[in-house]
């Protein structure tokens, strides 16, 4: 059984990557299982300077999903490089640094800095819905997606993945814009902006009022968008959105994803990503394939 995939020249032992913001820097989950079994880890979103994140309630459970408004709490890129990256490099999995900025020059500088380290890839976060400056504001209009991608790419010595937001008119346009700007791959979807309300307190549940929706409830939307984007661009697509099982992972790959990310499932169950890795070959057998690459984009429409 061949489970390895190649993404932008980087070899992944399997296509299972843990999604940014749900896995820290791998330390906590490594206490539960050897996270080196994963294909890759995308780090918590990193900013140039440390960030405290948002105040107030940051999570709400919704039917088959969650809303979060953490707001990119992170130790900053320098602390990451000094304290977390050496640990991560010892894990034996592909390390993707998720980079977030509040301005165009932030994105340039953080990509430049991360490019000098031994992270394997950089994932450009232009899709966080929970910060006032930057984040999703760069990811909504295709013109801006192209601009920020081009600026980051110019300063980026590593393969660049652009993480797309689903909160847009036509995600295929945004994927094409990222490709035009020089992205080596796109990942989608980030969370869908949503809200939860407490009628007795007459207040929003979340401190930030709105948050990002994720989990199994968004999977059908994510699948549709991955399919659309796969057809719109030539660069590889990383699919995510509500994946909790190996079967879910293969659904995304069938729709065109070369690799997938597991996000919210890690929060539901600390063993979730390992279970997906363990079940992968069993599901491949059921799909009658011996090489996982055979399923990428092989959906038969019509």
């Amino acid at each position: 059984m061949k489970t390895s995939v190649n993404l932008c020249g980087i070899e992944f032992k399997n296509p299972i990557i843990t999604a940014s913001g749900t896995f820290g820097f791998g330390r906590e989950y490594n206490e539960f299982y050897d996270v080196g079994k994963l294909g890759g880890i995308s780090t918590k979103g990193l900013t140039l300077l440390p960030r405290e994140g948002n105040d107030g309630t940051r999570i709400a459970e919704t039917p088959s999903g969650i809303l979060n408004c953490v707001g990119l709490q992170n130790p900053g890129v320098e602390v990451f490089i000094e304290r977390e990256l050496p640990f991560m490099k010892g894990l034996g999995t592909v390390i993707i640094a998720n980079a977030a900025g509040s301005s165009l020059s932030d994105y340039e500088r953080i990509c430049e800095r991360l490019g000098q380290t031994d992270v394997d890839m950089i994932e450009l976060n232009i899709s966080c819905p929970n910060v006032k400056c930057g984040g999703m504001s760069y990811g909504v209009l295709p013109k801006s997606v192209e601009e920020v991608t081009a600026a980051a790419k110019k300063h980026c010595a590593k393969p660049l993945i652009v993480k797309l937001t689903p909160n847009v008119a036509d995600i295929a346009d945004n994927a094409r814009a990222a490709e035009q700007g020089g992205a080596d791959a796109v990942s989608l979807i980030n969370t869908i902006t949503g809200m939860a309300v407490d009628i007795y307190r007459r207040k929003p549940v979340l401190g930030n009022i709105t948050g990002g929706l994720s989990g199994p409830c968004v999977k059908p939307i994510a699948l549709r968008m991955v399919r659309q984007v796969y057809k719109a661009v030539k660069i590889p697509v990383i699919g995510l959105g509500g994946i909790t099982s190996a079967r879910d992972a293969l659904e995304f790959m069938l729709c065109g994803a070369t690799a997938v990310q597991i996000g919210t499932a890690n929060i539901s169950d600390p063993m979730a990503a390992e279970k997906v890795v363990n079940d992968l070959t069993k599901e491949m057998e059921k799909c009658r394939i011996t090489d996982i690459n055979a399923i990428i984009g092989a959906l038969e429409e019509g």
């Binding site: 906590e28 994140g53 105040d55 459970e61 969650i66 979060n68 919210t264 929060i267 539901s268």
Partner: protein
């Protein structure tokens, strides 16, 4: 910490909307008073585990006492003897048991749950002040009586000391009792009162905080609280914080 599959031995309502869930396990590690567990909810559309203080535990047994509050806890009430459930534990830091000889323990409402193990581990030396709204809401009265010197307090005076547990402790202190530290778990106003009391009397306080939680293991950063001006994780850096660093 690890994830375990436990088997339900018993799950019954012991006071209004208060359920005691007893489970058996193959082998559990030592669990400290004030640590908690994440319990899977037996309902597909509730994807988050529920963080519950560990009430009682030994090598093959753990008991949780939970309040019926919403969909998730309602689903927990449907568990029956023989059902299996995924439980991640022990999580969080727990109280600094062993650091102090004479500890005053203050609990409020469901906040008393993690204090039973805490009191037991203090070796019978602790004075326990548990407060409830009325006599009907009293939890684990008999159990706590066996692990320390218990003063039950009710807001309306329907049982025990009439007033908040902080007032009961103040009264004992006026009579000469001097604890080395105060451990507290309860509603925020009670914990703030304990913090103020500790500061006024120069006694260290330790407060077990609650927050809406995601992963419970320190990764998702959704259960943060302000501690010394920074956002710290209730699940991993806590849930027990020094009174000095929180509610500033």
């Amino acid at each position: 910490m690890k994830d375990y599959i436990g088997e339900v031995i018993n799950n019954r309502e012991i006071a209004k909307d208060a359920y005691l869930l007893e489970m058996s396990f193959d082998k559990l590690p030592p669990i400290k008073g004030g640590q908690f567990a994440m319990l899977e909810v037996p309902r597909d559309d509730c994807i988050l585990c529920r963080p519950l203080g560990v009430c009682m535990a030994d090598e093959t047994y753990a008991a949780f006492l939970y309040q019926l509050k919403g969909k998730g806890t309602h689903a927990l009430t449907t568990l029956e003897k023989g059902d299996e459930l995924r439980v991640v534990m022990p999580l969080g830091n727990g109280f600094p048991i062993g650091k102090y000889e004479n500890v005053a323990i203050i609990g409020g409402g469901f906040g008393v749950v993690p204090l039973y193990l805490t009191a037991a581990e203090c070796g019978g030396n602790a004075r326990i002040y548990n407060g409830f709204a009325t006599k009907k809401q009293i939890l684990l009265g008999k159990e706590f009586d066996g692990v320390g010197k218990l003063t039950v307090c009710t807001d309306d005076g329907s049982a025990g000391f009439c007033g908040f547990p902080t007032a009961a402790l103040e009264k004992d202190m006026a009579d000469g009792y001097k604890p080395d530290a105060i451990f507290c778990c309860g509603p925020e106003p009670l914990m703030k009162a304990v913090k103020r009391m500790g500061e006024a009397k120069n006694i260290p306080t330790y407060l077990s905080l609650e927050a809406r939680m995601g992963c419970g293991v320190g990764a998702c950063l959704t259960c943060t609280c302000k501690a010394d001006g920074h956002n710290k994780r209730v699940c991993k850096d806590g849930p027990v914080f020094s009174g000095k660093e929180v509610y500033q």
